[in-house]
Symmetry: C2
Subunit: 363 residues, 2 copies
C-alpha cells in the first residue's frame, strides 16, 4: 500500500469515498469481526449482519435527526426505481401528483411517474436551461404529493430551503446527490430517497426514509419488492439485501459522525464550494458557472470555458495532474467538479490551483 | 492476515466465496488497476468499468456457452424482483403462464405472478413436502411460458434435466442456487435468472439471461427499471449499476474458468455432495435427508436428526468446530449444508468427519 497515490476524484457518482472507510473495509475484508468470513459471506439473518444494518440505521437516524415516526429502508434499483415506486405506492388511482422540474433528474422522475398516472408540473425551469430554482410554484391543493429534487447532479442547482406544499400535501424529495451533505429538518418531509453512490457509499443501495402515515396509502397486491409497506415492515430484510453496500454506507455514516456530524460536514462542503466558485468568479469570464449564483450547488459545479477545444485540453491536462472525473455531462457540456463529502479541502485546493494555472497558460 | 482462520462456511446465501477472489479484491480495494481509486469510486461510464462489466459478461458467456442471440443483464432486486418482472415483461395481458412448484421459492414466484395476471400450476409437490421433482406435468399449450426453479434452496431438490414445455412455449428458469454449478444447455431456455449470492458472488446483483425474441414481448410504458428491453439495450448501464457486486461476480467467473470451467466445477460439486449424502445414507437412519434420492440437490442438503434437541446440539457443536451456517430453514427444520462452488473438498470432509463423530457420541 505504500505506493498508493490517491487520485483527486471529482467523479459525479460513483465517486470518491473516505480513505479511512476504504482502509477499514480492506483490513477486515477477509475476516469480519473475527467470524473467519468476509462481510459478503455472512448470512443476512445472522446476528453479525443484524448489527451491521441496525447500526447503519441508528447512525443515519442520529446524523439526520430522523424522528421515530419514520421508517428507514435500504433498497435496490437506484433513484430511478424510486421514480416508479413512489407513485405506485403513494399516488392513489386517479389522483395526480405535483412535480417541480429543475433539471435532468426531476425531468426523468416526471417521465416515470407519467407512465403510471397523472402528473401536474408545479414548475419547470427547462426554458432557462435548468440554471435556477423556480421563483414561484403552481401548486395543486389536492396533489397526492409534491416532489422535488434537492440537488440536480447534472445541472448543479440545489435547493437550500424546501418548497412549501399546500396544507395536507406531503413533500417528497429525491436527495440522491446532496444526501447527508448538510443538516435538514426531516419532519418537513413525508419521504426522502437517495441512491448511495454520491455521498453515502458505493452504488447498489438506495436509502428511503418514509413517514409512517404514508405507508397506509400503499395499495394491496403490489409486487413485494415494490411495496414500501412490506419492505418497511421487514426492516429491509424481506429478501437478501445488498449486504456489502449496506455495510459500506454504515462505515460512511460512522465517518460522518466522527467528523462532527452534518453541521461539520456542511462547513467543509461550503468551504470547498466557495473555493471552486471563487475561482470561477475571479476568472473574469474565462470560467462561466452554469447555475445562477443563488442556486449554486454545494455538490456539483458545472462550468464552461471559452471554447470546446479549451474544455478538452482542460480535461486532458487535469488528468495528467491526477484530477479525475472533471468532464461535464453531455447535456450541459464543459466541465463539472463534483465535490462530495469525501472530497477533502486539499483535493479542492489542487483543483483550484490547476484552474488558475490553466487560465494563466490559456487565458 | 497471518492469523486468519477461515470458517467452514455452509451458509445458504450469502455464502462462501473463493478465498483467492476475496484476496484479489482486498489487494486492489484502494487502487483499482493503477487508477488511484477503488473500483467502488470509478465512474460506471469509465473505460475501466466498461472493461469490468464487459469482461464479466464475456467470461459468463464462455462458462455457460451462452449463444449470441441471448442478452446478459446485471440487475438489482434479487430473484424476488424477477418474480414480478418476468410476468410484467413476458406474459401478455390476459395470457396465462405455467409454473412448476417444487419448493418455497417456486411457490413465492407463483404468488408474485398471480398478483399481476393468470397462473396455471403445471405441477405442485407441496403435498409431498416438496421432496421430489414431479413425475408428470399438466401443461398449457398456450402458456406464455413455463417457469421452474432448477434448485430449491430450502428444500434441497434439484432438476438435473429440464422439463420439456409444449412446442412454442418458452422455458424460464430461476437458477439462483445452482447457477454456474454445472454445464447446462442454455439454448433450451428462453430466460434464466439468478441472484448472485449463492455461487456467483455477493448479494446485490441479479443475472438475467434472455433470448432476443423474448424482448419483442415487452409491453410499452413499463417503468424503465422494470423493462427488460431498455435494460438489455443499455448493457445494464441505463442507470448506475451495482458496480462492486458486478466486479465481484466477474472475479468469480474468472476463478471458475481457471478451475477448468463448469465441467470441472460439476465434478467437484458431485464429489462433495457424494460425501455428505454418503454420510447420511451410511448413518443407519440417524441422519435423514429431506429430498428423495433422485431429486437430491448438489447444492443444498437439508437433513434431520432423531430429535430437535439433538439438532440444536449438532448446530452448537458444529459451530465450536468452525462449521458455520448449518441450521436448516424453519419451514423444513433440522440442518442444511449448503455446499456451493466455493466450498472446497476439505471443508466438506471436515463436515462429514464431524457428522460421523457426532453420531458416535450421540447415536
Amino acid at each position: 500500500m505504500s505506493d498508493l497515490k490517491r487520485a483527486y476524484n471529482f467523479n459525479p457518482g460513483p465517486g470518491v469515498l473516505p480513505l479511512e472507510v476504504l482502509q477499514e473495509a480492506q483490513a477486515e475484508l477477509l475476516n469480519f469481526k473475527g467470524t473467519g468470513m468476509s462481510v459478503m459471506e455472512i448470512s443476512h439473518r445472522s446476528k453479525e449482519f443484524e448489527a451491521v444494518i441496525q447500526t447503519a440505521e441508528a447512525d443515519l437516524r442520529e446524523l439526520l435527526g430522523i424522528p421515530s415516526n419514520y421508517k428507514v429502508m435500504f433498497l435496490q434499483g437506484g433513484a430511478t426505481l424510486q421514480f416508479a415506486m413512489l407513485p405506485m405506492n403513494l399516488r392513489a388511482a386517479g389522483a395526480s401528483a405535483d412535480y417541480i422540474v429543475t433539471g435532468s433528474w426531476s425531468k426523468t422522475a416526471v417521465k416515470e411517474a407519467k407512465k403510471l398516472g397523472a402528473v401536474h408540473l408545479a414548475a419547470n425551469t427547462e426554458a432557462d436551461g435548468f440554471n435556477c430554482i423556480p421563483a414561484s410554484l403552481d401548486l395543486d391543493p389536492k396533489a397526492a404529493y409534491l416532489h422535488f429534487t434537492s440537488n440536480e447532479t447534472i445541472h448543479g442547482v440545489e435547493y437550500f430551503s424546501e418548497p412549501t406544499p399546500p396544507a395536507g400535501v406531503p413533500l417528497v424529495c429525491d436527495t440522491s446527490s446532496d444526501f447527508i451533505s448538510r443538516p435538514i429538518d426531516v419532519s418537513k418531509y413525508a419521504m426522502l430517497y437517495a441512491g448511495a453512490q454520491k455521498n453515502a457509499g458505493p452504488s447498489g443501495v438506495t436509502i428511503v426514509i418514509i413517514r409512517d402515515d404514508m405507508l397506509e396509502r400503499v395499495p394491496e397486491n403490489l409486487p413485494v419488492m415494490l411495496d414500501y409497506k412490506t419492505l418497511a415492515a421487514s426492516g429491509s430484510l424481506h429478501n437478501t439485501p445488498p449486504s456489502f453496500a449496506i455495510y459500506m454506507v454504515g462505515l460512511v455514516f460512522k465517518w460522518a459522525k466522527k467528523l462532527g456530524g452534518l453541521a461539520a460536514v456542511e462547513k467543509n462542503n461550503r468551504a470547498k464550494a466557495n473555493l471552486v466558485y471563487g475561482a470561477i468568479d475571479e476568472s473574469g469570464g474565462f470560467y462561466r458557472g452554469h447555475a445562477k449564483p443563488e442556486a449554486r450547488s454545494l455538490m456539483n459545479v458545472p462550468f464552461r470555458l471559452p471554447s470546446e477545444e479549451l474544455e478538452d485540453t482542460f480535461a486532458k491536462d487535469a488528468k495528467k495532474e491526477n484530477l479525475i472525473g472533471l468532464k461535464g455531462h453531455r447535456s450541459v457540456g464543459g466541465m463539472r467538479a463534483s465535490i462530495y463529502n469525501a472530497m477533502d479541502l486539499e483535493g479542492t485546493q489542487e483543483l483550484v490551483k490547476f484552474m488558475k494555472d490553466f487560465q494563466k497558460k490559456n487565458g
